[in-house]
């Protein structure tokens, strides 16, 4: 059979993210004004408070006359990248704790969890670097609380993992239309489908449908997502 080559080995995976900084340099000041202090203080709640929560896409005459100036759009993009970073921190931390707990006994499933955790860690590194290159302050790693989940044993852990991945995929999808920079969009899309892969694999493991929304995945807004992850964030 014919084999398709869909990716070139050695392509810099981080290239898309590494490039992000260039176009929006000028907006550093605005971003710092908007999100200042969020990183240092840490918790997600503070990040949200500092950056606002205005993710609802304006249905009406949104960008009829979108200005070519970077200001507002760069601020928005940085906010989205920091939001993604917070979610990736949460995910990476979750898998780290899960693996450390030794609760996942099934070897094959354990390996899946490990590889997913490694992906999330790569997402953290890339997103953090992106924020820094954009002149922003990366959101701090949230202090998490997965005690109840870990105490619930393997089944509960895997179900939570599946939920978190489905949520992550929906979160990225929910931001696609809000991202102004084409490079940041490309980077977000490249992470979005990896979350989707994780979600489907974990859904299979916990015997849930791989396509919970059917043939067309549904997005989640920032506020919907933050509400869902709140139980896992220590105030």
């Amino acid at each position: 059979m014919s084999k398709l080559r869909t990716r070139e080995p050695g392509d810099g995976e981080h290239a898309a993210l590494d490039q992000l900084a260039r176009e929006d340099e000028g907006s550093r000041a605005q971003f710092l004004k908007l999100c200042g202090g969020a990183g240092a203080a840490g918790a997600l709640a503070i990040f949200v408070a500092a950056c606002g929560d205005d993710d609802e896409t304006s249905g009406g005459g949104s960008s009829g006359g979108s200005s070519p100036e970077g200001g507002a759009s760069a601020k928005g993009d940085l906010k989205i990248v920091n939001y993604a970073l917070t979610l990736e921190y949460l995910e990476a931390d979750f898998y780290e704790q899960v693996l450390a707990s030794g609760e996942v006994k099934n070897k094959k499933v354990g390996e899946v969890a490990k590889s997913i955790g490694e992906n999330e860690q790569e997402h953290v590194v890339a997103l953090k670097a992106t924020v820094q290159q954009l002149g922003g302050k990366p959101a701090a790693k949230p202090t998490t609380n997965f005690e109840d989940v870990l105490a619930g044993g393997e089944k509960k852990i895997l179900e939570t993992a599946a939920s978190v991945e489905n949520l992550g995929a929906a979160a990225y999808l929910g931001q696609a239309g809000n991202i102004k920079s084409k490079d940041i969009l490309a980077a977000a899309l490249s992470i979005h489908t990896v979350e989707a892969r994780h979600a489907a694999a974990l859904n299979t493991v916990v015997e849930q449908p791989i396509l919970p929304d059917g043939a067309f995945a549904k997005p989640a807004t920032m506020s919907e997502v933050l509400k869902m992850v709140k139980p896992f964030i220590k105030a």
Binding site: T193, R197, F216
Partner: protein
Amino acid sequence: MSKTRMAAPELASIEVKGMTRESFLMRSTIAAGSVYGVATVGPFVREAFAQGGGGDVDILNYALTLEFLEAAFYTQGLQRVSGLDREVKQLATVIRDAEDEHVAALTATIKDLGGKPTKAPGVDFGQAFASKDAFLETAQTFEDLGVGAYNGAGGLIKSKKVLAAAGSIVQVEGRHAGAIRLVRGEQIAPSAFDKGLQMQEVLDAAKPFLKA
């Protein structure tokens, strides 16, 4: 980038006009609700496309060709591959149904944007149906390719609504890829970042499966 013509006749209706934003001009404004006749189209996408009002027809036709190819692959595979176990049959059926829905949604959308939907290409899947393993391996190839194709096209889409709809489809392609890879015992994600592929890369990869 220069104007590119496709080698395969099946792809002749897709003309890649440099793939710049400027080349995807708005062709018509569609009335909200005009695609509501298509019962199988997911409500979210139907709404998104209906409100899109943008062009992006060339990209949609490109996506439609890939979805036709995928849909045909699973339809034929389910009929022709012997020895599929229940798990694989069920997975392939779920995926086939989703690809069929993508075809229907994209076809309806292109029409509503005033464009002409590309025809289903002639296909030849070679030895892909010789065994369960060959079938799954090719399925993985198609889904990974679909992910790369949509991710590569994302930045070229002009309408925010069309982008959201394409995003909702590519997530499903990613889910297919992850599920197939799990069944095969492969890495769920070959990389932590699903790189976007250029249209020409995708068409070159798809060409062996298109009958001239």
